[in-house]
């Protein structure tokens, strides 16, 4: 009986010695430690950051540019600013209206924030009125017919931006 157990244990011990190296545990642990630190660098972890980054095609000084689908105003990109930023000397209104636009370059819908730039007289360049998804003023959060210079020190409208704030959720 004892020799049977002895043989069995010996066979197990030899098998283990053949398959596992003495420093195997250290190697595996090291691999896990290094692997765990590398996980945040993998594309999986970064997917969320990249999610709101659309494929860009076309010129942001052009009224046909995809982000302007619901704009009604002067394009800041023609007024010394860009689709994301206000021209020098103006202040971006933190209060704004928000809609979605379809980006034909990557086939996705994005949430667009139409922040107005305020504090200087009307820019006058690149008037663009597309109004897709624009609603009457009784739906105030979805209308471009009001002056959105609401959270700024000056209520004087200068031009409009179209900032991508996220990807639209497909219901």
């Amino acid at each position: 009986m004892m020799s049977l157990i002895d043989k069995l244990l010996e066979r197990r011990a030899r098998a283990a010695a053949q398959t596992a190296s003495r420093r195997g545990m250290l190697k595996t642990l090291g691999g896990v430690l290094v692997g765990a630190t590398a996980v945040p660098l993998l594309p999986v972890a970064r997917a969320e950051d990249g999610a709101a980054r659309p494929v860009e095609e076309g010129s942001d000084t052009d009224c046909d540019y995809w982000r302007y689908c619901a704009i009604d105003g002067f394009l800041c990109s023609c007024c010394g600013g860009s689709a994301n930023t206000c021209p020098p000397g103006t202040e971006m209104s933190p209060v704004t209206w928000i809609g979605t636009c379809h980006n034909p370059a990557d086939g996705r819908n994005y949430v667009i924030s139409y922040n107005d730039c305020c504090g200087k007289s009307t820019c006058g360049a690149c008037l663009c009125q597309r109004d897709e998804g624009d609603r009457p003023p009784y739906r105030p959060d979805k209308t471009n017919d009001i002056n959105w210079c609401l959270g700024t020190s000056s209520a004087t409208y200068h031009c409009s931006t179209a900032v991508v704030v996220g990807v639209a959720f497909e219901e």
Binding site: Q18, A36, V95, G99, G151, F169
Partner: protein, 157 residues
Amino acid sequence: MLPLRNNALGVNRLLVALSALLPCAAISNAFAGAQAEINEDRARYHYQMFCQGCHTPDGSGVNAVPPLKGMMGVFLRSQGGREFMVRVPGSATSKLDDMQLAEVLNWCIENFSSNSLVNGEYLPYTAEEVGKLRQSPLQEIDNTRAAVLAEIARLPE
């Protein structure tokens, strides 16, 4: 024999690596599930589409737009405050359905309460509760808000 053994070791290593990752995933899922059923992407999208334009991306508000940040938990301290957050026109008359409105309110509570929640806990809104409350939208918003906050200020600590 040799390739098999290497393969077995490879699988083992993969399992070890996976098991190192799994506990984190399990903890974060359990935490979210314990509070309210929220589809993060949908809730954030609805916040962006129907709230953020005025309440700003981080819920701070600006000028006449009151902050959600640090306030959601304060309002939850009284029944009147709990009802207020549903009966304000931005909530009550939005085009979100009852389930979506309850979800976005719970999402706001979880993201903008800061330290204002009592013991860090809250009772999530349900579609049913929200559906009833939104049938009587507030007309006197500023006055109601002041009255609700005054009532909460009088509550014992």
